[in-house]
Symmetry: C2
């Protein structure tokens, strides 16, 4: 294979230490020496073996990121932001997806590629607190998303209850009275939509609107299909919402599609609000109103947190960090003009 430090040292007639000094740009190497070594490096096409460096230093410069699904543009966009944030700190990103399955999430959080990754950023769906407490190893772990845990890990997520209330308030402010929620989970034990659902309930109460649980549609997943299916199920059982707040943009988009297919007009007959602000929503034929979490901040904070624990501040108190969000009003909730 390739040449080693030793080969270079031999050719240049110096010790490996000197070559190492040159490769790592240490000061205190005479220009002449540097020149001589560099020539040997070029001649041999030497490239440092990073694996050896990793073994020696106990660090790899690799952070793992595990999201439920890359097919959901929210996570794809987030992954891109994490890659950029990591690059700014000279880290690269190993990516995995869990399909939101507890088993896979446990696997990933419990020492995925031990010693190969320096830290992990995980966006869990089904993971339980007990899984986290049983986690071996001490690689930094940062949690993302709206699941809540009673475990000593950094957790970065916007205030989902407040954000959901903002969305519902936007709808009630438009005069909407029968506001449906799309995306509760059928199996209530693990309820990822927990906080957004709570926000919906709280804001309904605050607005003095009747709290109608028949306007809650349960789903198994969180994709476009699920949104369309939930919307159809709601309509099929006779519910007549004049507004829909969906768990995420994908479901909102699916719901809009279902509404239009049934001859209902958006926003005239039914206003729709999503969550995530994926680019697709800005360009759909009826541009989607949505809660927009600050993805750049989320990515940046997650990486910074991992890096901080890796360099100098390992004993940082685990923290709950809340990035900002905004409500972006678009066509799907345009005020009635007719």
């Amino acid at each position: 294979m390739g040449a080693s430090l030793k080969d270079v040292a031999q050719l240049a007639g110096v010790s490996v230490k000197t070559v190492s000094n040159v490769v790592n740009n240490y000061p205190h190497v005479t220009p002449a020496m540097r020149e001589r070594v560099q020539r040997a490096i070029d001649q041999l096409g030497y490239r440092p073996n990073l694996t050896a460096r990793h073994l020696r230093k106990g660090r790899t410069g690799i952070i793992a990121l595990a999201v439920p699904e890359l097919g959901n543009p929210y996570f794809a966009e987030l992954a891109g932001a994490v890659i950029d944030a990591a690059a700014r700190h000279d880290y690269t990103v190993l990516l995995d997806h869990t399909a939101g399955l507890r088993e896979k999430e446990v696997l990933v959080s419990h020492g995925f590629r031990a010693h190969v990754i320096d830290g992990l950023i995980l966006s869990p769906i089904e993971l339980e607190t007990s899984d986290l407490l049983a986690r071996p190893g001490d690689a930094p772990l940062v949690l993302l998303g709206e699941r809540e845990y009673d475990a000593p890990y950094d957790h970065i997520a916007i205030d989902n209850v407040a954000a959901a209330r903002t969305a519902v308030r936007h709808l009630s402010g438009l005069g909407r009275q029968r506001i449906a929620f799309l995306g509760a989970r059928r199996e209530m034990a693990r309820q990822p939509a927990h906080l957004r659902l709570r926000g919906w309930r709280e804001e309904l109460a605050a607005a003095g609107l009747p709290h109608d649980e028949t306007l809650v549609a349960a789903t198994d997943g969180y994709g476009r299909w699920d949104g369309a299916a939930a919307m159809n199920a709601l309509l099929d059982r006779g519910a007549r919402p004049d507004a829909v707040f969906a768990y995420n943009d994908l479901m909102a988009l699916g719901a809009m599609r279902a509404l239009v297919e049934r001859g209902l007009r958006v926003p005239q007959d039914v206003s729709v609000v999503g969550f995530d602000d994926v680019e697709e929503g800005r360009f759909s034929t009826i541009a989607l109103t949505t809660v927009s979490p600050d993805k750049q901040s989320i990515a940046r904070l997650a990486v910074e947190r991992v890096v901080a624990r890796l360099t100098g501040a390992p004993q940082l108190e685990p923290e709950r960090i809340r990035p900002g969000y905004t409500l972006v009003a678009r066509e799907s909730t345009a005020p009635r003009t007719a």
Copy 2:
């Protein structure tokens, strides 16, 4: 930090070789011995240091994947498929994005994380053949996408000319006569859309349709915005296409949005065909007709090729592999009913 093989060996009162045998599930270890070692492993919470293993074996089990942009769902979906395909071969995926910039593509192809990744799958946009020929190192590299290179590397891509012709034929078969092409590149030196553009020209000729270069709209990028801008530019300069074939789905979606905003109806006034078959197109208010490359096959073939070169068949002839594709007709090209 964690315990090492030596610690385990000491506690169990055996040699490191024996512990290694147990850890690696080698046969020929007596059950009693295995039991004893396992107890020591559990007691110490021992976890093998993969970095050391990598140094020793010269393999890391990590494949890098570099795509232009995760914000484009085609690449996000492809990345997901690559991760799954890699997992089936016990590889994990290091993900990077290049923004389609030559500089970044060169950086990535020339020894991104030398010795840390066993191989690389790259989907280039601006990369040149000369960059590839100057590539140092011998880690397997598999190219994806429609750029063509005269370099000794595996290249996996559908037949873009034929696929583009299929799309245009679909449109001409519908009676469309003024079929625009969206997504040529302004700077012609590097023309990623080269093949699809050629397919458009060839099929126009075959269908006996006039070859009108004013129906070609140039763009700088390949996103939704670019599609909308290109469509608007075309219309603004007086072109009156009755059909649009876009470089990809994102641009087609942007174009549809622009058409609708100008009061043109899709598909009645203008039929639209995209390329990629991203899930979003299936769910847009006007479901998008598109050329659907077999992403699963692309991902699988790319990973298999890298793995084959890594295990046993390093001297494989570089090959041009053409996965399949289909045209999926949806609402955006529904036959005129009125």
